[in-house]
């Protein structure tokens, strides 16, 4: 008597239920096997239960969400902890991180990337390590000892052979790169192995010291801004964690699994992938920050915050320079911050305050148009 998959599909196709419920319903029904009558009954009961669980119109969901995220803030720690309990990369966590997300900062205080690798690299430690060396920005101090030779007015760079090998660099490449960037005479020493001699254009102390300083800022290999790369095995798969974030450049690297690589820099995600990705990034980052502190906050609240930050097509800050500063109401803006300027501007422009929001109506002293205040009874 059980009905076929096609009938089930046709019966549940038109349901006004969230997709995940419909999906579980179908799975369950297929597993158990039901008669048409039973399915009808199930659908009716589900509909009832769903309608019961729906938010009621006029509910002030904004305030509830704001409180649900703000209230646990008091229980969070201030300190930055090590990433995932491993003493390798420091990441801002807790309240400072939450503030950072909500502030929509262009640069987080500790940018970090999680780079997933494609199959052939992720299984092999050495291959993963190789990518890591390709990505990590190599500076001269990582590979060499630099001595300033004042007598001969030159810089002597003694390269460590081992590190060179490890990072698959060779002395000529380095010399070329240095010559290119510094625009001075760079010579590979002939008598001593692995030595480069750099002579400034004019033999002055200032120039020499300047050179000694500048040489440190040159990226010899890898991606600038990626300060350190750590390879870790996670669930039978090697993954790279980086200090510093350069999403656009990393995505170009061979062997990087573009679909699973991410960064904690929301601004960068917005730039590279667009606003929808940024919205999702805010949700995941905020959820992770909260759950890391052992706080459970319903995802709907975080979604709402993320949506209001992103609903104009750009990531806007929660605060004076973002949402609160762009409100329609003069009173709402004045009651938040920079009171006097908003009033003066409003006067100058001849603005109207339509008194639709919460603060405005509180100020004027009348019921707010939210919740029970938004319902009117009319006597017939």
């Amino acid at each position: 008597m059980t009905i076929s998959e096609a009938t089930v599909d046709s019966m549940i196709a038109q349901l006004d239920l969230p997709a995940n419920i419909v999906k579980t319903l179908k799975e369950d029904v297929m597993k158990v096997g039901v008669t048409k009558k039973e399915l009808e009954q199930i659908i009716e009961r589900l509909g009832q239960s769903y309608r019961y669980a729906c938010v009621e119109p006029c509910e002030a969901v904004g305030v509830v969400s704001a409180q649900s995220i703000g209230e646990p803030g008091t229980q969070m720690t201030m300190r930055t902890f090590h990433y995932a309990g491993v003493a390798e990369i420091n990441v801002t966590l807790g309240l400072p991180r939450l503030i950072e997300i909500v502030d929509a900062r262009k640069q987080p205080s500790t940018p970090m990337m999680t780079i997933a690798l494609e199959k052939e690299f992720s299984d092999d430690r050495d291959m993963a390590r190789k990518i890591a060396w390709d990505i990590e920005a190599s500076h001269i101090e990582n590979l060499a000892e630099i001595t300033t030779d004042l007598a001969n007015m030159q810089l002597i760079v003694d390269l460590h052979e081992k590190t060179l090998l490890q990072r698959s660099l060779n002395i000529d490449d380095i010399a070329d790169k240095l010559r290119d960037k510094l625009d001075v005479m760079v010579k590979v020493s002939e008598n001593i192995d692995n030595q480069i001699v750099i002579t400034p254009n004019s033999p002055s102390y200032r120039e020499l010291l300047q050179l000694a300083k500048n040489i440190h800022s040159i990226t010899l290999k890898g991606i600038e801004g990626i300060k350190r790369v750590v390879v870790r095995k996670e669930d039978a798969e090697y993954t790279l964690y980086t200090e510093g974030s350069q999403l656009r450049d990393i995505l170009q690297v061979d062997g990087v699994d573009v679909t699973r690589t991410s960064t904690n820099n929301i601004g960068e995600i917005h730039e590279v992938f667009g606003i929808e990705a940024a919205r999702n990034a805010i949700i995941t980052e905020a959820t992770d920050t909260l759950s890391e502190q052992g706080l459970t906050v319903d995802i709907r609240h975080i979604m709402l915050v993320s949506d209001i930050m992103c609903c104009d097509g750009e990531v806007k800050q929660i605060g004076r320079h973002g949402i609160s500063g762009e409100k329609a109401s003069v009173f709402a803006r004045a009651a938040f911050e920079v009171t006097v300027n908003h009033l003066l501007d409003a006067g100058m422009r001849g603005d109207y305050d339509e008194l639709n929001g919460v603060t405005e109506n509180i100020i004027v002293g009348q019921p707010i148009k939210l919740g029970t205040g938004d319902v009117h009874l009319i006597a017939r």
Binding site: P18, T24, L25, D28, V32, Q41, S49, Y50, Y52, C54, V55, C58, A60, V61, G62, V63, V64, S65, A66, Q67, S68, I69, G70, E71, G73, T74, M76, T77, M78, R79, T80, E88, L95, V102, V297, D298, R300, H301, M303, L304, I308, G319, V330, A335, T339, V340, L343, G347, M348, R349, G350, D351, E354, N356, G357, T359, I362, Q366, T372, D374
Partner: protein, 880 residues
Amino acid sequence: MNDIPSIPKRVGAIKFGLLSPREVRKMSITAIITADTYDDDGYPIDMGLMDLRLGVIDPGLKCKSCGSRAGECPGHFGHIELVAPVIHVGFNKTIRKTLRSICRNCSRLLLEPEKKREFLTQLEESKDIGHLPDDVINEVFKEARKAKSCPYCSTEQLEIKFEKPSDYIEDGHKLTPTEIRDRFENIPDEDVKVIGMDPASARPEWMILTVLPVPPVTVRPSITLESGQRSEDDLTHKLVDIIRINQRFQENRDAGAPQLIIEDLWELLQYHVTTFFDNEVSGVPPARHRSGRPLKTLTQRLKGKEGRFRGSLSGKRVNFSARTVVSPDPNLSINEVGVPYAIARQMTIPEIVTSRNKELLRMYVQRGSELHPGANYVIREDGRRIRVSEINKEELAEKVEVGWTVERQLMEGDIILFNRQPSLHKMSIMAHMVKVLPFKTFRLNPAVCPPYNADFDGDEMNMHVLQTEESRAEASILMLVQENILSPRFGGPIIGGIHDHISGLFLLTRNENRITKNAALELLRKSDVKDLPEPSSYSEDGEPLWNGKQIFSQILPKGLYLEFPAQVCFKCDTCKKKDCEHDAYVVIEDGKMLQGTIDEQAIGAFKGKILDKVVKEYNPGAGAKFVDDFTRLAIRGVMKTGLSFGIADEDIPRTAQMQIINILTEAEDKVKALIDAYEAKELEPLPGRTLDETIEMKIMQELGKARDQTGSIAGMQLGLENSAVIMAKSGARGSMLNLTQMAACVGQQAVRGERIRRGYAGRTLPHFDEGDLGADARGFVKSSYKSGLNPTEYFFHAIGGREGLVDTAVRTSQSGYLQRRLVNALQDLEVQYDGSVRETRGVVVQFKYGEDGIDTTKSDYSKPEAVHRIVRMVTGKEVN
């Protein structure tokens, strides 16, 4: 009787604008010309700053302008005719930008006509989509400034420099406000629109003042000191200054004084007007009171937390509220609050007299205001309010008529709002039913402490008495405690058992308690239980005995099915579920608890699985009843066994102490070895870390391990019958860490996650050698709290403790600001009837709330389990 009170009018919108000189004169009741306030007899001088026509502040007097008394008269503006125009400080920025973008000759905006049209349409567009016009206007100014000469009269434009506070210098020549005003006057209306101003309500020349409105005295009331001396408001002082200088200016100019003096006076007038508006302008020395305190002028009154906007308009002070200390009373329902008689006598609820309640209300009036359920005021039909006193109570009671209003005292069963600051979430204000009790504190069931975040160490809470029928209806439907058991934050219970509730039920339900009939009835005395189930066993002499699980089952609702692992669960690799040998798997069938132990997972706040289920599957009322019942049962349960903790409970045997000492010395040796290796440069650095960081981390690890080992030794010695262990394991209070710190070893003290290293050069304290990296030199506390800390340990412990305090202080202010910003940004969002979330302008933020439209407190219904359950119920077949 028949006139229905008219519906109060609603303010539809408020328009902002600048005051034109004409308007200032029009709204002024008089010009103010004398700087003096009172004459020798103490009578306000006519056309002075305290002119009687400006309004009244003294009680008993009547306003000369409108005839109303103090409190009714809103006050009336006056005005000062300024001898020469001055700039309004607030508009300096706009004046500067405008000056630079208009022609110095013909005053037209320095843009081509089509450019103007373009900007105008842009302005329209941004207004249509509800955006602020700031960006467009700035663009206009930027474009217009680029012009070298006027496109209309071809006059060459000169660079205008702005010098703080309010000087405009054009090509070395200072522009006087008069000159600026002249230029602004000539800007055509169409051009004014392009720079974002509305010529009808704000002409640019109005930013330069020629007439100064004088605020009414009600805005700047003077206060009479005890000595009978009058003390004037800051604003009045400032106005006196302005009038004085204005007069002197006039005299000097009339007398034909030299240009230099005129300019000086002009500048002085500008200074006083500037500080009248804003006394914190950068570059302007603030005007001071005689005592040296800076004056609080207009801007200072408006801005900031205590300013008019945040302090008086967004936050208002209210009547019908009370505040006192809170204390616990487990015998109250969670929906109730104990209100002291003293407060109940003061707080009133207005009740309109009808034919049905006339006798009752009359009785209240007759009892007067002294005897508790009495009345404090009656309001006659004509609106007169009469206080009920001992003298007139009989007489008033006689007179009470239908249509009068009696303000009766607060009584048992009334609904009130109860609040504890900081009000961080909606559960910080909940509605309770009043229970009038003796003594002087508010009493509440300790189970409602978590949502308020209250404890009883001296916390005070506020009560608000609702005054209208509508508000009481809303409060009882939406705000009653039982309606808020589930937190919208995570959809679980935020109300639940704490401390003794948990340990009480834990002690009752664990093991096979043998409870006699008398004891059982005593335990369930306060719960609404009629009869006991079949006894579980009989004693030797045939007396029936029950166990704790049976007793607990009595307060469970019928038909409850639930299974879950308890807090005491050992987290075995494979859970044996029903066959758990630790009795840590709770099984409830048809409202009967078959096995397991009740602890935090079952009834605790934030966690309580049983409570969660009861509220969701039955109703909030059942949930509240369950909480009431289990709190009462728990208190009796804990009284039956008794639970106490003393210093002797931290005792551990000598052998264990020796073991602990051994572990610690061993750890110290290991640390020493590490340091030796480090000094000999034999230590391999961890990848990506310096040598210094590596050694620190290794030492921390070693010491942490040692502390944990000592902890587990102490934990073993204390055993499961130790009351502190019972509390920690059941989740009632404290943790095993707290315990081991008391009994075994306190452990490493840290600052910013590192061992302590600051102090003297190279060492933390003079007791150690320079460069000593050893455990005790860097804040490792070997002692336990019981054995006592040695002086250096004590000091390090204080350092660690201080960090915690600082952290909390910083965190509260930071998270408070975060909360304020979040609330401010999201407060206008509302679910519409079509399920979308929109803000005031109608901008859609979400098309369907939370992508599925489900309320967070009911989010369980969107989970797959809900579907499984329904399928199971209909088909009778198990899904999984």
